[in-house]
Subunit: 211 residues, 4 copies
DNA sequence: AATGAATGAGCGTTCATTCAT
DNA sequence: GATGAATGAACGCTCATTCAT
């Protein structure tokens, strides 16, 4: 047929027909864009596929249902966030120093995903099998608890802290600060706020200076 | 704006018509029950009116649209929550004592509305521009900030705290504790956890004992 | 509003809006018309409602699914057929005479429902819970069996017939004749065919003339 | 007309490609299996190819459309049935004996194809104008009519039978008996039923014993 | 010959909403 | 005030089919 001939074309514009292999990616990106601006029930599959530039049937090649798309989308973003946070834990610094890094990483995350975070915080929670965001923070809280214990032994942190409890309290504080810093709630004073938060935590958990 | 929100007037005695219980109330209760178990987009008006035992048309006598029902429902619950939290601020106690009360009130709120909180945290937040959870907490954070300032002047709290910042940090911590206490994350040790959290905050903000 | 005014109009042409109460009937009639000409899978709900002159949503007010429409349609027609056949059994004639009446009734049925019978005989069988057409004939076959027994006792029919078996054989024959007569397979000779069939059955089942 | 029906040519050895079993055969077998359990409109091409273990595109190498698969499948089965029935006619026995054979052959057919017969009786019949069950039986009825004529000349059958009519009546009876015998409607008494049916027919058509 | 990603029309169905009663 | 039949747009989804590889 016309086959050998077409194949010799260096794979240029095919306006209809076969894959770029990127259909899934295009759909995810389009969905993210749309979900940043509208509720899940306001965004239709026709809208998503139109924005993605694929056919409606293609959607269902990659996602079982519309709902499963958000699970995938949330997973993707959360994986990225995880990675960024987990990186803070990899180096071997005292908790008192770690908190600063976690704030910065958290703020970066909030900034990078500012568009979609409201969505992630809201709708996505209702999609997975259960309480998702709690679950997601859990490993980090646990890691933090073990580092607290380590620093307690090293005499850096108060002995009367229960590591698991302290880890929760710190984590909540860090989240708040990261969000505030990224979200402009303290505009112009991010550094002062951050430093005050760190001092706040230090007083709450640091071992008293030996006399 | 001023349109969708105010179908709230309780109506007067109608002696004819079917339901004895007020139709509006029945609809709200049914919606709450259903929204505790399903997403907004999964709950239909037919479903709600069936659960409420009223006719489909009756729904539109009390709510302009399905979305406005959500707003009304969220308002109702949030008003109840507000009231409970605001009550803590009414008496004239030092911040260091206030935090304990806020934890207890917050935990009570979480327990009382456990069914519907995931819904409030998620979907409802996306309905009106102005009804993000940030906004809702704002008055309390501001009130707390002013109390911090008062206690600073009284020498009870550290002078180097920026009241607005400290208020945010405290608020985040209290939220976390209230949720943990109510949600069973620290089951069996609620009191120990609560007390440790209060001590944590005290160290962070209390003025150092004068020598 | 404009209500009292509109209501004074003597209920003339409402081109949109409220019921004639006949929506269900219109849908059934339209479906019958369409199913006489096309397979079930070729007839779409949009097509049916367009032919019926009702909105798509109205369809689902009266029928749970498209498939349940045919069950209803088949039931309706079969009830009419039942009635006609059952009427033959009501009077108290010998089986030998009854068969003639049954042929005539059967032929009338085939003619009256000529359009939809192929559909009923084919597709509809697969919709109900199980083998439908067998079930439907069963009561008549049983009634026939009991009449055979009666006539055996009266010496009108052969003693060596097993009533249940004979009833089946007669019934199959009658069906065939009714269909042939109505369907034009023996065009022009319907009466001769019918008479020969009756003679055929008489020889098969009548008691031998006493010598 | 001549188009949709003939994708039947068995193709020659293809040594490359995945399936060892011929793809066409696998598709037909899968379709038959599925159509025994579901209506035509419920069985999808994706489902068929999945059950057959071939790719979606492969389907269209062997069948022009989904509908043409049905026709091919029905043809295949009907050819097998034809052959079995036709075999009864091949030997040179009197009609009175033939009916017994036809019952047995018919019952065997019903048993062998029990799974797919409801499908054949229903949907398949509506696919081609020309493939109604009436048409399919016609050659056999005609053959039977000619044998009746032969036996009338031989003095074995009544002279007053119209061969074409008698053939129809006999055929309907045989069908009924075959179905009943195979379907368990007379369970345990198949032989008695069959014998009574034959006696029934003999009385109806045999020439009276000469005195 | 065989594949399977891609297509896009069109399905059955449900929805929020209206309004004559 | 309350009803519920009727609406029709729009939904999520599946389908039969194509064709570059």
């Amino acid at each position: 047929m016309t086959k050998a001939l077409d194949a010799s074309e260096p794979r240029a514009k095919r306006s209809r027909g076969r894959p770029r292999g990127d259909a899934r990616e295009r759909i995810l990106r389009a969905a993210r864009r749309l979900l940043a601006a509208q509720r899940y029930d306001e965004v239709s599959v026709p809208e998503i596929v139109a924005a993605a530039g694929v056919a409606q049937g293609t959607f269902y090649l990659y996602f079982e249902t519309k709902a499963s798309l958000i699970v995938a989308l949330a997973d993707e973003i959360q994986r990225a966030i995880e990675a960024k946070i987990a990186a803070c834990f990899s180096s071997d610094v005292p908790v008192i120093e770690l908190v600063g890094r976690l704030i910065d990483a958290g703020a970066a995350v909030c900034r990078d995903h500012a568009d979609i975070l409201p969505f992630l915080r809201s709708e996505a929670l209702l999609f997975g099998e259960s309480r998702r965001s709690e679950e997601l923070r859990k490993p980090h809280v646990e890691k933090l608890a073990s580092l607290i214990q380590r620093d307690q032994r090293a005499g850096l942190l108060r002995r009367d802290l229960t590591p698991a409890y302290a880890a929760r309290l710190i984590s909540a504080t860090l989240d708040q600060v990261a969000r505030d810093v990224a979200g402009g709630s303290v505009s112009g004073n991010e550094i002062a706020y951050r430093d005050e938060a760190i001092a706040f935590l230090r007083r709450a958990i640091a071992a008293e200076a030996r006399s």
